[in-house]
Amino acid sequence: MRIVLTSILFVFCVISAIWAYQMNYETRFKNKQIIEINKKIKSTLDRIDLLNAEWAFLNSPERLSQLADENFLKLNLIPLSKNNIKYSMDEIDNSNEIKNGQ
């Protein structure tokens, strides 16, 4: 009886030791992974920040208007006037009809 109990406890002890050992190393490994992923996230966020800033710079109103001025003829642009602005789809359709009529 006693031998059975002792051997059960012994086996339990060995199993839990192996489990704890494995868990320990798995945790360290996971920790390393987390640190690496966090680093990646941070550098990706930094990159997103940089790209956002670059996007904002490329879209700055002054740059766009300068580009529009440079390519004014190439793009067949016309100066904006109040007649170019329509406030509803009806107005747009009407103006198209007039054009087509002509």
Binding site: D49, A53, A56, S60, P61, E62, K82, Y87
Partner: protein, 561 residues
């Protein structure tokens, strides 16, 4: 026998003692075993629990490092980026570790500008164990420096505040500088504008504010700044400012001051004796000027509101008025009698003074106070705090008279825009703001009635269609406004300059609703296009305002009328 017996007795005694000690020690062993088992069980259960429920683990202390990298973004009313942090590198050295200093210096000469060279030389040959070489360097420069391949050169992560739109909205945004600095981090502090006013909100990550959303529309701001700059060049002016305000909410859609600067490289204030000449001086907010005739609409508004006058009431404008040893006259003879409407249309000083006299000085003073002309504004910029309007200390007949046509009182263009917003928006009190507001928070204090406001809009419309601003084309939009040309005060000799003026056009559009208020102010303009040169606002500030309105009205979704 006795001996034997004794021996036996002593033997049994020993055996019983042995038995006793065996019993004792086995008891101790059992206790020990039990406590070991208990300890293992406690640890094992704890481990099993932890494995099943990982949240228990998070009792570890976290080391708090102040993170300066997350300074919040500033955006315009449509969410377009105005200010942002990006990651760059700082460049430092441990001079004692560098083997070949001359080689390093020669390599750095190629990478950085010639100006840095002297500084580098001095720093690398200094006795200090640690020197900053460059506070911020670009990724390309970093690669080049790494390629030198010498020990002792190091990089640290650094956050940099950038303004992608360059000089646009420079005065409002202000700028930043580095505060506390270490190898791994640096604190960014606002130096002016909203960066300073909201420094705590922008840098404190505990506060719920995600980003700072301004009321400014950067697209409109770009157009306004471009036209203002060109206008100032054409009119040969020293500077100028534009305020565009939503008259109902007090939101500033555009706020421009010229000359301007680039907040990415904010200049130091080099003009110590006259700060108003510096590009960092915000004329729209800090500039206190006597603005002249644009004030004339105020006594008229009060007169109509209190039923003392109506737009058709006539006043004698035949003779100049003498008050307190001063003669008040018009710029030319305007006729024997003028109606209230015509007094504004032709900008008669005499007529305005007569209206003010009829209203009385106490009422006029109280009305100016209600319009906010005596106090600093609530605009969320640090520059407003030091900017208190100048008003006469005593308020006698002469002061009342001059105040009625805008002399003796000096206010900023923001004050003027706010007062005009109140007059045209239906009479509601507004406070100028640089932050985007929900329309629900409209202040409902009534300063003048809706009816008076409507009358004022009609008079202002007539000024543009028939009066001092009639020659200007506003691109088909109906505009109302009042011009003002005021001689500049001479701070050295006292009195006024004869040929230096501040010319102002305060306007509202579309005038049928008075939704937007635009104030254009030019400092010392001169229009030399015709045969003679003009300084009057109608030839200087009005054309600039007209150009602005015709360009931005489509962007504000306004229909032509």
């Amino acid at each position: 026998m006795v001996n034997n017996f004794d021996q036996f007795d002593s033997q049994t005694q020993i055996i019983s003692q042995k038995n006793k000690s065996i019993k004792n020690s086995s008891f101790r062993i059992y206790i020990l075993l039990l406590s070991f088992i208990l300890a293992f069980l406690v640890i094992g259960i704890q481990m099993i629990l932890m494995a099943l429920n990982p949240t228990i683990i998070q009792n570890e202390k976290k080391v708090v490092v102040k993170d300066y990298s997350k300074r919040k973004e500033i955006k315009d009313r449509n969410g377009i980026l105005l200010a942002k942090n990006i990651k760059v590198d700082s460049f430092y050295a441990h001079p004692s570790e560098i083997v070949d200093k001359e080689k390093v210096l020669n390599s750095l000469r190629v990478i950085f500008s010639e100006d840095d060279q002297k500084v580098f030389r001095k720093k690398l040959y200094s006795e200090k164990p640690f020197v900053w070489l460059k506070k911020t360097i670009s990724p390309e420069q970093k690669i080049l420096v790494k390629d030198i391949g010498q020990p002792g050169l190091y990089f640290g992560p650094r956050q940099m505040r950038i303004y992608p739109n360059g000089h646009l909205l420079a005065h409002t945004l202000g700028g930043t500088r580095y505060g506390f600095e270490s190898v791994s981090n640096a604190e960014i502090l606002g130096t002016a504008g909203v960066e300073l006013f909201y420094n705590k909100e922008l840098s404190d990550l505990k506060l719920s504010l995600k980003e700072l959303k301004l009321s400014i529309d950067i697209k409109i701001q770009a157009i306004v700044e471009e036209i203002l700059k060109n206008g100032i060049k054409l009119m040969d002016a020293k500077g100028g400012s534009v305020v565009l305000m939503d008259s109902r909410t007090g939101e500033l859609i555009s706020l421009a001051s010229f000359p301007t600067f680039n907040p990415n490289l904010r200049p130091k204030n080099l003009f110590k004796n006259d700060p108003s000449n510096s590009p960092i001086f915000n004329r729209a907010v800090q500039g206190i000027y006597e603005l002249g005739s644009v004030f004339k609409i105020f006594p008229v508004a009060l007169g109509i509101e209190t039923n003392v006058i109506n737009p058709k009431t006539e006043f004698n404008t035949h003779n100049p008025i003498k008050i307190g040893g001063r003669t008040i006259k018009d710029y030319k003879y305007l006729g024997p009698k003028l109606s209230v409407e015509d007094i504004i249309l032709k900008s008669s000083n005499i007529g305005t003074v007569r209206i003010a006299q009829k209203i009385g000085s106490t009422n006029l003073k109280a009305f100016y106070k209600n319009l906010g002309l005596f106090d600093t504004t609530t605009l969320e910029l640090p520059e407003t705090k030091g900017t208190k309007p100048q008003k006469p200390k005593k308020w006698n007949n002469l002061e009342t008279a001059t105040a009625s046509y805008g002399h003796g009182i000096a206010i900023s263009p923001i004050h003027l825009a706010t007062a005009y917003a109140i007059l045209v928006n239906g009479g509601f009190k507004v406070n100028p703001t640089i932050l985007k507001k929900d329309n629900s928070n409209i202040n409902s204090d009534q300063i003048i009635s809706k009816k008076t406001s409507e009358n004022i809009r009609l008079i202002l419309e007539k000024v543009v269609s028939e009066g001092t601003a009639k020659e200007t084309n506003f691109g088909g939009y109906l505009v109302g406004g009042k011009t003002g040309t005021a001689e500049k005060t001479n701070p050295i000799q006292g009195g006024y300059y004869e040929n230096k003026v501040i010319s102002t056009f305060a306007s509202a559009f579309p005038i049928s609703t008075g939704e937007f208020v635009l104030v254009v102010t030019l400092d010392e303009p001169e229009n030399n296009f015709g045969s003679e040169s003009y300084r009057y606002a109608s030839k200087t500030a009005v054309p600039v305002a007209a150009k602005i309105i015709s360009r931005i009205a489509p962007l504000l979704n306004l229909k032509k009328e």
